[in-house]
């Protein structure tokens, strides 16, 4: 060491004493000891003088002034820091920047409740119970039999309205002219009337049974088909009615038998003079029955033409079938004759390709049962 500092310092003298002496702040009670040590060792006095000289040199370096533009630089740094957030907060700051700037939000009581185990388990159990209950209700709904009500009145349809000048009510019986020694013959007009609409009496139960087998068709015959078709089209557009329109230009082959409807006798207009009546004998039963049939001039039979074809899906059962018939009657205008036809062979309705049919499990449980498909034919008389 070139400073000439005695090492160690004389007994009783500290570095702090020498620094205080250099700065001129030595306490009075220490002056005696320090000055005594300096007298004893002049190197200490020389060191103090050198320290004072060096201090004056450092102080004499002069004042400096900050350059211009510091504020601009600071402002840009503040903007950059604001963009970066406080993640780059310096460790040079004596104390950390308080995190109270971060807003703390208490979680809701519902969330706290759901975060614990038992409420979650109870919620899962309740959900399972609800699902099981709904499933049970659905199964019971499917298994429930229709409530047996009073026997519905037989539907007497396809019967022409009574006409005073029309022939007597046709029966399935064979009418024979009552002439001696003559072979029973079938009058030509009777023969002509044979293919006409046959009266059908069909109960709801039988109709529902046929519908479930695919052997039932509903024919709507009218001389003005357009209004009826218009109203039935509105049913097909309604949602969840089960009505579908079958395009006439692309009728599935299953429905080919429905395209040839039976003919119907044209009601006779009023005649100028009553012709002579004709007597027929019915061969039904044990006793022959005499029937007087007023002769009426027959006109060429009306030819029904299929104007529209529909298919209705409905749950099997009398109630649903009766509801279908009732809805049809309420929908079609006056003058439309509704006929239930028993088909010789079941008609396998094509399965429609639509979301409700393909994704049947998305439908309500009540719609999961098998559906009966009933074709509905609208026939116009021409």
């Amino acid at each position: 060491m070139t400073t000439g500092l005695p090492n160690p310092l004389p007994f009783g003298i500290t570095e702090s004493d020498l620094i205080d002496l250099v700065d001129g702040v030595l306490a009075r009670e220490r002056e005696g000891v320090v000055l005594g040590a300096i007298k004893a060792d002049p190197r200490l006095g020389q060191l103090v003088m050198k320290f004072r000289s060096d201090r004056e040199l450092v102080v004499g370096l002069g004042e400096v002034h900050a350059p211009h533009g510091l504020a601009d630089g600071i402002e840009s740094r503040l903007e950059a820091a604001a963009l970066r957030g406080l993640s780059t907060a310096s460790r040079d700051i004596p104390r950390p920047i308080p995190i109270s700037q971060v807003e703390r939000r208490e979680p809701s009581s519902l969330r706290l409740l759901m975060e614990s185990a038992w409420p979650r388990r109870l919620a899962v159990a309740a959900s399972l119970a609800i699902i099981a209950g709904l499933g049970t209700m659905g199964v019971l709904e499917l298994m429930r039999k229709p409530v047996a009500g009073p026997a519905p009145a037989p539907i007497a349809v396809n019967l022409p309205k009574p006409d005073p000048i029309a022939p007597l009510a046709p029966t399935p019986s064979i009418e024979i002219a009552l002439e001696p020694d003559a072979e029973p013959t079938i009058p030509p007009r009777i023969i002509a009337a044979a293919p006409a609409v046959e009266p059908v009496e069909m109960t709801d139960a039988r109709a529902a049974m046929l519908a479930s087998e695919g052997r039932l068709a509903i024919a709507l015959r009218t001389s003005a088909a357009a209004p009826a078709i218009k109203r039935l089209d509105s049913l097909t557009r309604a949602r969840d009615t089960g009505w579908r329109t079958i395009a006439m230009d692309n009728v599935p082959k299953q429905y080919a038998a429905l395209l040839t409807p039976p003919a119907e006798a044209r009601p006779a207009p009023a005649l100028p003079a009553a012709p002579e009546p004709t007597v027929f004998v019915s061969a039904h039963g044990a006793n022959p029955q005499v029937t007087v049939v007023a002769p009426a001039p027959t006109l060429p039979p009306l030819h029904p033409v299929v104007k529209a074809l529909y298919s209705v899906d409905l749950p099997p059962g009398e109630n649903s079938f009766a509801a279908l018939v009732r809805s049809i009657k309420e929908s079609v205008p006056e003058g439309v004759t509704l006929t239930l036809r028993e088909l010789p062979k079941p008609v396998a309705a094509p399965i429609p390709v639509d979301p409700d049919s393909v994704l049947w499990w998305n439908s309500p449980v009540g719609k999961w049962s098998r559906r009966a498909s009933v074709p509905i034919v609208v026939e116009g008389l021409e």
Binding site: I19, V64, P94
Partner: protein, 223 residues
């Protein structure tokens, strides 16, 4: 920029009146937010020379010192909420600034590579040519040399700057705080987070190291 508050000398200590000015400036910044340049402009005007002096004496380069001064003031603004008012604002600001300088020196190891050419060479030129040089004045010698200051004075300044730059950063810091900034021992202790006795001990050793450097026959800037 707010010019109402008078700037303080780099070596002057804020009086009680100055302390009240500081508190008013801090309250203004806290009210307006650090995004308001008008709010912190007064504080910058008041302390920029002092902070720049600390940085310049610590790093010895004017550009780096300006950069560190801006960094330090930004950190002061960002951490202003942490100043609880128990210590003087000036002491706290210098503490932040000194930490910035020490971090810079330690990170870049400028203690080994700092060049004092930018600091003393212009002074030498001015001293020799009588200030007629067109070169930029040295930030370390903003004070123009007087007519009675000759080559010997310039040489002394050069030797002091070289010796100062050759000191360990911690020793340089305590010399700067004591002799350049004029802080008392308690303020230095607060600025460096050490005890007052430790300040005196470190100051003694720093002066001793400086003396040894100045006694070297041909002081050269540290490589």
């Amino acid at each position: 920029m707010d010019q109402d508050s008078p700037p303080i000398s780099p070596t002057s200590q804020p009086s009680d009146e100055g302390d009240q000015i500081d508190r008013a400036l801090v309250a203004k910044i806290r009210a307006a937010g650090i995004g308001s340049r008008e709010a912190w402009g007064g504080l910058l005007t008041r302390y920029q020379d002092r902070l720049f002096a600390v940085c310049l004496r610590m790093v010895g380069n004017r550009d780096v010192a300006a950069d560190l001064t801006q960094d330090a003031f930004v950190k002061v603004l960002q951490g202003l909420d942490t100043w609880d008012g128990r210590s003087k604002l000036s002491t706290w600001i210098i503490r932040v600034t000194m930490n910035v300088c020490l971090s810079h020196l330690r990170a870049a190891k400028l203690r080994k590579h700092a060049s004092l050419e930018d600091d003393f060479a212009p002074s030498l030129v001015r001293g020799v040519n009588g200030g007629s040089s067109t070169r930029t004045r040295s930030p370390l010698t903003d004070r123009e040399p007087g007519p009675d200051e000759g080559v010997q004075s310039v040489d002394q300044r050069r030797r002091v700057l070289i010796a100062l730059a050759s000191l360990d950063p911690d020793q340089r810091a305590i010399i700067v705080l004591r002799d350049v900034q004029g802080l008392d021992y308690d303020q230095i202790a607060a600025a460096l987070s050490v005890a007052t006795g430790t300040v005196k001990s470190r100051l003694f050793r720093a002066r001793l190291a400086l003396r040894e450097l100045l006694e070297q026959p041909h002081s050269t800037p540290p490589q």
